[in-house]
Structure formats: C-alpha cells, structure tokens
C-alpha cells in the first residue's frame, strides 16, 4: 500500500505539472478543424459565412445544424444553394442522400467540402477519398483546371489539406474542377 501511495502521489504531481505547463504555454494558432462559422482560426469559416452575400447578393443566408433530410424535407428549402462544410460526412444516411438528389433535381445546387464522404456517398456516387502523404515536404498546392480560372495559380492551403484527393470516382459522370500538384482530383462536379 505504501508503494502504491507513492506512485499515486507522484503520478498526481506529474499530471498537475503537465496541466500547469499546458496552461502557461504561449497561445498558439488553433489548427483544429472546427469549421464553425463563428471561429476565426484558420479552419474556422467565419469569413466565408460573413461574406456569403458577396457571392449570393440579395439572398438570405440560413445556418442549419440538422441532418440534411431535416433541412430539405421539413423546411422545404427551394431555389437555393446548399453549402455543406464538414470534416467528414459519416453520418450521412440513405434518406439524406435521396432528399439531396431530389433537391438537386429540382434545380438547386449543392456544394460539399469534406475529407471523407462516408459510406453513403461512396456507394451512390462511387467516390473515395484518400490522403497522399509524403515523407519529405508536404507542399501540395491546389489549383483549378478551368482555363478561365487561371490554372497556373496554385493555392497553398497548408497542413496537408491539398493532399486529400479522390482516389476513385466515376469518370463518366464526374467533371474535374480542381486538382493538387500531383494531378489528383480534389474538386469534382456531378450533374443530375
């Protein structure tokens, strides 16, 4: 029991030291992928959300925190563009997908930004994403392919974000809009 107490006390002390050290660390940039519209860190979407009306002049912007099905089926959003920005879309179900397709077929647009699209999209759109990790250098700038969007301009978004690409997609249905330095498509378009 005596030795156990020594371990507990020294373990506790180390933990306290660690907490103090963490609390006193100089404030670093938060690279966590919050993607929250109030977050001003690099992976927040504050500016985008704030300036959405620049690219959608005269439109109303509504933020939703519900599953896609609820947004479309229950709120009957029409004549709109739907932006989904998420780290992954794992929780995307078949009803969500069906609603989304119906919504697109009714003339609306959907834009999704994610790293991992989850089972549903992988199944119905036949897509798959992977990360191309390099041991040395991790500079993987991205660029558009449309000649009108100056493909020679490469955008470095840092933290290996450009390294995530579509390792599989239906080349008959999808049109590539952008790719990374290794010519791996990371921005594709489906029309319904």
């Amino acid at each position: 029991m005596r030795s156990l107490r020594i371990y507990l006390i020294s373990g506790g002390l180390l933990l306290i030291l660690y907490i103090i050290a963490q609390a006193n660390r100089p404030k670093t940039i938060d690279w966590s992928e919050s993607l929250i519209d109030k977050e001003k860190a690099p992976y927040g979407t504050y500016i985008l959300f704030d300036r959405l009306k620049d690219i959608f002049p005269g439109s109303a912007v509504t933020a939703y925190r519900q599953p896609v099905y609820n947004v479309i089926a229950e709120d009957s959003v029409a004549n709109a563009s739907y932006l989904i920005i998420a780290q992954n879309i794992n929780e995307f179900s078949k009803p969500d997908y069906e609603q989304l397709v119906k919504y697109v077929e009714a003339g609306n647009n959907v834009f999704i930004a994610s790293e991992y699209f989850g089972k549903t999209f992988e199944k119905y759109l036949d897509i798959e994403t992977k990360e191309y990790l390099e041991l040395i250098g991790n500079n993987n700038p991205v660029h558009f392919v449309n000649p009108a969007l100056s493909p020679q301009n490469h955008y470095n978004i840092g933290k290996g974000a450009g390294s995530i690409y579509f390792s599989r997609f239906d080349t008959l249905k999808a049109v590539v809009l952008g790719e990374n330095a290794h010519h791996q498509a990371n921005f594709i378009k489906f029309s319904f």
Binding site: I29, A113, Y155, K159, T171
Partner: protein, 273 residues
C-alpha cells in the same frame, strides 16, 4: 500567412462561381436547370489511405472542367479589413504551414485506423465500446486493487481456508516416515494433508520400483509421462487429478471422501510390482 482562411475562402469563392454558371451538357432536353453536386476536399488529415506510396492512377479519360464562367468576387475591402484584423493574423507560434513529422506520423496512424475500420461493419462503434469496456474494467480492477481486494479472487469463490500446520517447501520423499505421518494427519482430521502424504508415498513407491526417476523439482505430469504401462498410467493420472484438486484446489474433504481416495491409493499400491 493569413492565407489559411483566405485561401480556403478563395477556393470556395471560385467554386461557387462555377456552381452558378456551368451548364449541363445535354441541355437540349429538360428544363434549363443545371444541377450539380459539388465536392471539394479542404482540410487536414484522416481520410483513409496509406503513407506516401499509395498513389492510385486515375483512369485515363478524366473530363476536366472547361465551362464558361461568370466570376463572382468577394468584397475586396471587406477582405482587406479581415487581413488587417489581428484575429486573422496567423503568424506566431504554431504558424507552421506544413505538417511536422510528428503531425504526419499521427496522420498516418489515423489513416491506418480509419481505413481498417472502414472494412468492418459498425467498426467505429464496436471499437468504441470495446475500449470503453477495457477502460472501465481496468479502472474497477485498479480501484479494487488499491482497496486491498484481490479483484480476480472475487470471482473464484474461495473454498474454506484450512490452516495447515505443514510446510511443503522441501520434502524429500525418501526421508519421510509416511505411515506415521499419514496416521497423524488422519487423527488430526487433516485429510488434505493426508492425501498429500499418500500421494508423496505413492511417488516414493514408484521411484523405488524404478518406474519413475524422482526429483524434487519435477512436476506431477512429468512423472505421469514417465510411466509406460497403460493401466498404471491411467490410475496414476486419476490419483494425480484427485490430489491436485484437493491440495491445490483448496477442496476441503471429509472423512468419507477421504476413505474413497485412501482406498484408491491402496489399490494402486497393490498393482505395483
């Protein structure tokens, strides 16, 4: 280097322009609606896939976008204002643009985990509950252990502990007067000890008749292995099991049970040459 947000923004900006103005190829039928599902990949690690060498070649005929666009722009002044705002100044500690080896290591770890899990149905929740169970189990074990309770012993249901005025550390079977010791144990109703003595006596008999080669550190199964005659082997095996249950298994036995075992030992003795 405030590009972090701004670059993401630029891409989104252009993406949205495209959304608005690309046209569906077979435009001759259907309404003038063009509808797309747009997909971009923005952010950090965790996606599935391996380290470095995992390059998949896409099929040759990839259709790239050549549609006519009408550019839409974010308000330059507003963006400029953000640029001077210190909230969007991503200089300073941690501003590193690339990924450190450490970050890449973790990215690789998570890649491996997620891509493995992707092949198991409900893999995520299974793993979650598995680790939760392990963690809770460990916690309970630790608490019991520190409270001085033997956590494993609880489940075994101990037999009544019997004091044994006896030490088994060094028993040279050639130096024990078995008959006297067995008598003594029986008279003290210490049947477990009696069984042990009987077993040791049995070993001595086997050793005397050169059926086994006795050594203090040999196991019972080693002796069993040395026996060659099938009936001997079988009977000795039975005796060994009885002895081990009673002695090591902490079984308390009564006079009646002891009687049965005693006759078994006697029986065995008569079968020896």
């Amino acid at each position: 280097m405030e590009q972090g947000c701004l670059a993401v923004l630029k891409i989104l900006e252009k993406a949205l322009m495209t959304t608005q103005h690309c046209r569906w190829r077979n435009i001759e039928y259907m309404h003038r609606l063009f509808k797309f599902l747009f997909v971009v990949v923005l952010t950090l690690f965790m996606a599935g896939g391996g380290f470095a060498a995992n390059k998949k070649h896409l099929p040759a005929k990839v259709v790239t976008d050549t549609s006519k666009l009408q550019l839409k722009k974010f308000n330059e002044q507003a963006i400029e204002k953000f640029r001077t705002n210190k909230d969007f100044n991503y200089h300073g500690p941690g501003a590193s643009y690339g990924m450190s080896l450490w970050e890449r290591f973790w990215a690789w770890i998570w890649n491996t985990i997620t891509s493995t899990l992707a092949h198991i149905p409900n893999g995520g929740s299974f793993l979650l509950y598995f680790f939760l169970t392990v963690a809770v189990g460990f916690l309970v074990y630790f608490i019991l252990k520190s409270a001085g309770i033997d956590p494993i012993g609880i489940w075994q249901g101990n037999a009544k502990k019997i004091d044994l005025p006896y030490t088994e550390s060094l028993e040279n079977i050639h130096e024990i007067n078995f008959d006297a010791e067995v008598e003594k144990a029986i008279s003290q109703h210490n049947y477990r000890l009696a069984v042990r003595l009987l077993y040791l006596k049995c070993l001595k008999q086997l050793s005397d008749s050169n059926l086994i080669h006795w050594q203090i550190d040999k196991t019972n199964s080693a002796y069993l292995f040395e026996l060659t005659e099938p009936t001997q082997k079988q009977t000795f095996g039975l005796l060994t099991t009885q002895f081990e249950y009673i002695w090591y298994g902490n079984f308390s036995i009564d006079q009646q049970a002891f009687g049965t075992i005693y006759s078994l030992f006697q029986d065995f003795k008569t079968k020896l040459p």
